[in-house]
Symmetry: C2
Subunit: 210 residues, 2 copies
């Protein structure tokens, strides 16, 4: 990805997190990214193009700070975002159960980058109820995320049937999104959100059988 | 509630479900409700007042079509919305487990009223990330909903400790909201959403011990 494309998408995530999708004007985005509106259109064609690419960019950033995608799962966006920077976390655990927990729990971190990214993701997801143009992108990002979590679950519970593993991954990711909105709107403290999610992981793993 | 207040709040839910919170203009709302803008301001003071009352109204409507609040739990809004109309569902089951399932699963119904109500609720919830003025109202509506579900869970699992029951209710309601956004944006078929939720109820009840 060129520096300018990256600057525009970084700006888009910031503007969406601050003012919502409906508050994203291309002129403001260009100003935020320090480029001309013509350049924004050159790279992303139109507003729906900006939103679609912003969604993929935000998904890739989440992969980076949750340590996802390091083993060939991940969103598969192939946008070159996973460049090894930004993963200042503890080393990737080798125990599959800890890896599963880490991938999910690192979505809740009191860091400006994580808050901004989660706010923008939640806003794009909520906006997709009104905007069918976002659905294909969300569907593929969502499916990749479920596959990622299902991959970890299958390592934890190798004897569990595929269908049950996928259903558990769908529930854990949907729960995470529901908790995330409550956390970001100040209704649920960070540690409480993490505790609820950790317990759900235990419940689902117990159900699938170790 | 007077007919005009009700007409305004019905209109607010419809406009929010159609165009989002940011798309809610008081002039459009007045036109939708067939009243003057002055009357809207007379009843609800300002835009935040409209949103707060719309949120309570939408919560009460959900209570009605899920059969909640019939036993003294419920959102406790006391707005007189639960007038006995609109509950064209099967009679309220006496088995607590079926009652629990019904309360949660009836949030997923392919009826225009339910879709509109859930869309408006999800939009207000998503918007609260940007608008602190909604948080108190959302916090109390959310707490009442968790208490409602916890009450049913406690009936199903009378020996479970209160803390565990409340945590399970928090997870089930957060999961439901996460699934709801996916359903409403066309990413998750209705029956699949219900199946995932039904399984989570089984998982949580199993964990709490019958």
């Amino acid at each position: 990805m060129t520096d300018r494309r990256r600057a525009i998408l970084t700006g888009a995530a910031r503007v969406i997190a601050r003012r919502g999708v409906r508050g994203l004007r291309v002129a403001d985005l260009a100003a935020e990214a320090g480029v001309s509106t013509a350049l924004v259109y050159y790279h992303f064609k139109d507003r729906p193009g900006i939103l679609r690419h912003a969604l993929a960019f935000i998904g890739d950033r989440a992969d980076r700070y949750t340590g996802a995608g390091e083993d060939g799962h991940g969103t598969g966006g192939g946008t070159g975002e996973r460049d090894g920077t930004g993963d200042g976390e503890a080393p990737r655990p080798s125990d599959p159960r800890r890896l599963l927990e880490r991938t999910l729990l690192l979505e809740f971190q009191d860091l400006p980058e994580v808050r901004e990214n989660s706010t923008a993701w939640g806003e794009l997801r909520a906006h997709s109820v009104f905007d069918p143009e976002l659905r294909d992108e969300l569907a593929s990002a969502g499916a990749a995320w479920v596959a990622e979590v299902a991959g970890h679950l299958a390592e934890v519970c190798p004897a569990a049937p595929d269908g049950a593993v996928t259903a558990a991954a769908e529930r854990l990711t949907a729960l995470l999104e529901g908790l995330s909105v409550r956390w970001l709107s100040g209704l649920l403290p960070l540690e409480h959100a993490r505790g609820l999610l950790r317990e759900s992981i235990a419940v689902e793993v117990g159900r699938l059988g170790l």
